[in-house]
Symmetry: C2
Subunit: 233 residues, 2 copies
DNA sequence: GTCAACTTTCTTGTATACAAGATCGTTATT
DNA sequence: AATAACGATCTTGTATACAAGAAAGTTGAC
């Protein structure tokens, strides 16, 4: 399920339509949607290719996420309503319960609730939307990290610090704590990926086989045809 | 050209396909693209509706843009390469020439170049991409502002301040100046819109006529059919 | 006259057919 | 034998046909 489609794999429209027992039309629309959300890259007249974010790109995305969350925190510290404060407390309590149970899945869900309350509390609906989108995209990699030893407890402490700063209306501290809260996930990711790379070192080359760059071998005679790749978008 | 499609207007697929002399298929794909970029809202089984960002949303977007640019500046101050520094200077000089000529269109183009160099110089390609996307979306509203009296000169001064901070490697100052540089556009927008509203006050009501909320009159008898609007995505 | 159920019409969503570009294989030429 | 030109095949992009859901109009009951 997790590794159903390999990085670089070409997604053939007819194959997919056969597999899901629909015509090519909805398949095409779905592929365009995935392309918009970045999971797939489409090259005109060539097809759609699976694009998992590279490690570099993931770290970059976590950096941006950290900044967006910091902005949410800064604004929320000034703008949060009593009702939202209450929901923040509820989410924090739920997180605490999950942590005490040691239930990572549960913590993960409640953690998400906590952050979404913050996005809303920023009072900037565009920001909230963008933060949610990126949060969702980084979701699987965030989830991975909750397995790291002691991460749940640390995460919880950071949540309480954020909450404290917001209750006190300390915008800059809320921003800083949140920035760190996310940035540390980028750091942890580095560690996880390093370990993962050690294990998977042997099979890495194979997974690249179907990518358009490495897989489609341009023969010398075809090189005369000068094509500009004309990347989608 | 500018106001070819009115806010809330329904975009009929067959009408559009007739107008552009293509079949419905590419029209549908184009509409989906516009929906992804936020210019159009699609409601399942109902159609696509023109959605210009509201004034509130615009201000929100400028706030986020300010933060993204600030982040670019902070990173660029530390990571910019000599080659990028050179391109920044080139863009700044080009801006200066345009300003001296008083050519707002030209300044607008070169200003864009200046900012794109900064995005690149951040060394975070994801950030650069997101900043470019939002920049592009705010483009028409930015452009409006260059007509404001004295804005060109002020903008130019701010550019030089940004450049100075980056040359000196002062990350926080670069961030602060850039944040202000963008934030002021949100402020100016407020003024422009206030003036615009005064002029257009009479015609405002009419432009809403075709929106699905106000235009589609549900008759009482139809209210029994409980539909969840099921907003797209 | 008003309101509800039915029917008609219109529009989106999906399937299929066709056109055009791209890759791959074959053949001919140097 | 290597390379270029040509043609066959496959795949995407577009057009058209069909199905299903939504809005509007019509008829009938109270």
């Amino acid at each position: 399920m997790a590794a159903e489609f390999a990085e670089g794999e070409r997604l053939d429209e007819v194959t997919l339509s056969a597999r899901f027992a629909v015509s090519r039309t909805p398949v095409r629309e779905a592929l365009h949607g995935l392309a918009a959300s970045g999971l797939v890259e489409t090259i005109p007249r060539r097809g759609a290719f699976v694009r998992y974010p590279s490690f570099i790109k993931l770290v970059e995305m976590f950096d941006v996420m950290a900044e967006l969350e910091a902005m949410c925190g800064r604004l929320a510290a000034r703008r949060i309503t009593p009702e939202e404060l209450e929901r923040l407390e509820e989410a924090a309590v739920a997180c605490e319960r999950a942590m005490e149970k040691g239930d990572a899945d549960d913590y993960y869900r409640e953690n998400e609730r906590f952050h979404h309350v913050l996005y809303q509390a920023s009072g900037n609906s565009y920001l909230a939307g963008e933060a949610s989108k990126l949060h969702k995209r980084l979701q699987p990699f965030r989830r991975l990290q909750l397995r790291v030893r002691g991460r749940l407890q640390q995460s919880m402490r950071e949540h309480r610090q954020v909450q404290d700063a917001i209750v006190k209306g300390d915008a800059e501290r809320a921003a800083d704590v949140l920035r760190g809260h996310i940035a540390i996930q980028g750091e942890n990711l580095r560690d996880l990926m390093a370990n993962f790379a050690k294990q998977q070192a042997g099979t890495a080359a194979r997974s690249q086989s179907a990518s358009p760059e490495s897989g489609t071998r341009f023969r010398d005679k075809d090189m005369r045809k000068i094509r500009n790749p004309e990347r989608a978008e």
